[in-house]
């Protein structure tokens, strides 16, 4: 049990739409163990964004349960969810989502600000995280002074700085060219090798190929769940 970072059971999420209810997830059950590297795939409308929001504690399910790192998080208040996101989850977005007017260092410090970490320790940890993704020489640059790949590395550093139990990436290479994409996926593989649990939501098979396990959704339900032999 304690080995499972994520355990969702009979997860249901419905949205009201013009008086009717649309079911985005219809009873999904899934477990992800510590240090797994999982790709979640599926065509659009399959519910992968909904699942990603739920796994990231940005949203709460209409039904079913979600244990994150042993804690039931499916019925928490907004502020309690914010605390969980801050401590347990590191986000990497397709569009990077860095604060445009803040330096790379400051962007990486941000989760620590909300965790209430003192400024000196904040700086040290942010520098360490940036060094981990190879950006120790770009710390004081703003996002618009960085290339797409560098921006995504800043985002990864930011995701890692709180030492989360789950790194959640949503189409992390969607805005990058293929060379840079490979570079970012290499960073993910390294992090995985160091023990990080990673979930990548993608629709690109080439990206999913880097994961050791591929979960495919269809119509809000689990379609397939396979081990990936090609993964290193």
């Amino acid at each position: 049990m304690s080995d499972r970072v994520i355990h969702v059971e009979e997860l249901v999420r419905e949205y009201p739409m013009g008086g009717e209810k649309v079911l985005a997830l219809r009873g999904l059950t899934l477990s992800i163990r510590r240090n797994e590297y999982v790709a979640i795939m599926g065509p659009s409308g399959s519910g992968k964004s909904t699942l990603m929001n739920l796994l990231g504690c940005l949203d709460t399910p209409s039904g079913g349960d979600y244990w994150l790192n042993g804690q039931e998080v499916s019925r928490l208040t907004d502020d309690a969810l914010a605390r969980v996101r801050n401590k347990e989850i590191g986000f990497v977005f397709q569009t990077f989502n860095l604060l445009p007017r803040a330096s790379a260092l400051h962007n990486v410090e941000l989760p620590l600000v909300y965790a209430g970490v003192g400024s000196r320790e904040r700086r040290e940890r942010a520098v360490r995280a940036l060094t981990r993704v190879g950006l120790q020489n770009r710390m004081h640059h703003r996002p618009n002074e960085l290339s797409g790949g560098q921006r995504q590395r800043v985002a990864i550093a930011r995701a890692l700085v709180n030492e989360p139990s789950l790194l959640l990436a949503d189409e992390p290479t969607g805005n990058l060219d293929s060379t840079t994409s490979e570079e970012i996926m290499r960073v993910f593989s390294e992090l995985h090798a160091q023990g990080q649990t990673i979930v990548v939501v993608t629709h690109e098979p080439s990206i999913a190929a880097h994961a050791e396990r591929v979960v495919v959704l269809r119509d809000g339900k689990l379609d397939s769940d396979t081990r990936n032999r090609a993964a290193a």
Partner: protein, 413 residues
């Protein structure tokens, strides 16, 4: 928690968007400018009025017995003025009667004055205040003598044509020459200069050194007062308490002399420096009563503008809010960020308002004789009000920001 950061962000917004910030802070700025400037000017006026105006024009611990008030700082209605003009004038007899009967130790001076032209040789001085009075006048007004002497009571009694000149008038008529012993001509008659007064300076930009004093029975008195009649009797006591007693005494003596019944109003006027300030006190009270209203209106307008700016900022930065929430910002973190930002903006506006208000006070001081003095409390009140307006104006936009759904906020462009 990240208060310092929010302050810095607000300051950066102001610096990068100077013009927009200026307009958005204009309301608060004007409100605080008003506050500082008006308070400074009123305070300055108060000091000036009390120290300079009343005491120098009327004299310390001095009051005057007149037909009507000599100094009016308030509004006088037509009707009031007419009733004053119907009163009997103060005669030599009145003055002597009062001076003889008053029990409080006082110094009195009979007094008349008008504007006249004085000349010496080819030089003329027009519009000079020529005063006919007694030697005690110099004591009452604390006018010192620079050279020469004051005329004597004997000279007053005999109506000797002698003069004491104001410092500036002496300079004008006798540039370089010693005025003592020379004759100044008034209305064709020569007057011997026996003394020159010390320099007194100016009041409201008007020189106090352009005057000439003569014994009030000197020939020229018929040009400044009708025969047998005085403008006023000046009465000086040793201290304010004794002055009050002397005033009451004078009133009683005059009422007796004129045979007034208890129900009748006094048909003469007693005015002290304090009394002369009544009008001004009314004006300053009105100013200081209306001021909070004016300031409040501009602060409310300023607050609404700031609220709008903050609502726009929340819309523009929806995505940033989404990012912050995804990274673990709680509602109150976002709330604090935007309230602090709004308060910072408004406080900066107020600070500029303080600067502008002080500037305005200094301009007034430079261009007018008013000694506008900035009251320290008004600076604190100004900045404090600015901050409070910012906090109040920021609460609604900030609470909207704090309640944004992180998923939708992240999707915003």
């Amino acid at each position: 928690m990240p208060i310092f950061e929010a302050v810095r962000m607000a300051l950066r917004t102001i610096v990068t968007q100077k013009l927009k910030s200026f307009f958005s802070l204009l309301g608060v700025l004007i409100g605080v400018t008003f506050l500082i400037a008006v308070v400074s000017i009123v305070e300055g006026m108060n000091v000036y009025m009390e120290d300079q105006f009343a005491n120098r024009l009327i004299g310390l611990n001095t009051f005057t017995l007149r037909r009507n008030p000599g100094i009016n700082t308030g509004n006088v209605t037509e009707e009031e003025w007419r009733s004053w003009m119907r009163r009997p004038r103060i005669t030599y007899g009145d003055a002597e009667y009062v001076a003889e009967r008053i029990q409080t130790p006082v110094v009195t001076a009979q007094f008349c004055s008008d504007r006249m032209t004085l000349s010496y040789g080819g030089k003329q001085a027009k519009d000079i205040e020529l005063m006919g009075t007694e030697p005690t006048y110099f004591e009452i007004k604390s006018i010192g003598i620079a050279t020469g002497r004051i005329f004597t009571p004997q000279e007053v009694k005999a109506g000797v044509p002698v003069l004491v000149l104001g410092w500036e008038l002496a300079e004008k008529l006798f540039a370089g020459l010693d005025p003592l012993g020379r004759d100044v001509v008034i209305q064709g008659l020569p007057y011997r200069v026996v003394g020159v007064a010390e320099k007194r300076g100016s009041l409201f930009g008007i020189s106090l050194d352009k005057f000439a004093v003569m014994p009030f029975r000197a020939p020229a008195r018929r040009f400044i007062c009708p025969l047998g009649v005085l403008d006023e009797l000046q009465i000086k006591a040793a201290n304010p308490g004794m002055m009050q007693v002397a005033m009451a005494e004078t009133e009683a003596i005059m009422r007796t002399r004129r045979g007034l019944r208890p129900t009748q109003e006094s048909n003469f006027n007693l005015q002290s420096a304090e009394g002369a300030l009544e009008g001004w006190k009314k004006i300053s009270t009105v100013l200081l009563t209306v001021l909070p209203g004016l300031v409040a209106i501009s602060l409310v307008v300023g607050g609404i503008v700031i609220m709008n700016i903050m609502l726009m900022a929340v819309t523009e930065r929806t995505r940033e809010i989404g990012i912050r929430k995804a990274l673990g910002a709680k509602r109150r973190d976002i709330l604090a960020q935007f309230v602090v930002e709004s308060a910072t903006l408004s406080t900066v506006g107020a600070a500029f308002g303080v600067g502008a208000g002080i500037g305005l006070a200094f301009v007034v001081r430079a261009l007018t004789p008013l000694p506008a003095a900035v009251a320290p409390w008004s600076v604190f009140v100004g900045v404090g009000l600015g901050m409070i307006v910012g906090i109040i104006a920021g609460v609604y936009p900030a609470s909207r920001a704090s309640r944004l759904d992180p998923i939708q906020a992240l999707r915003a462009e």
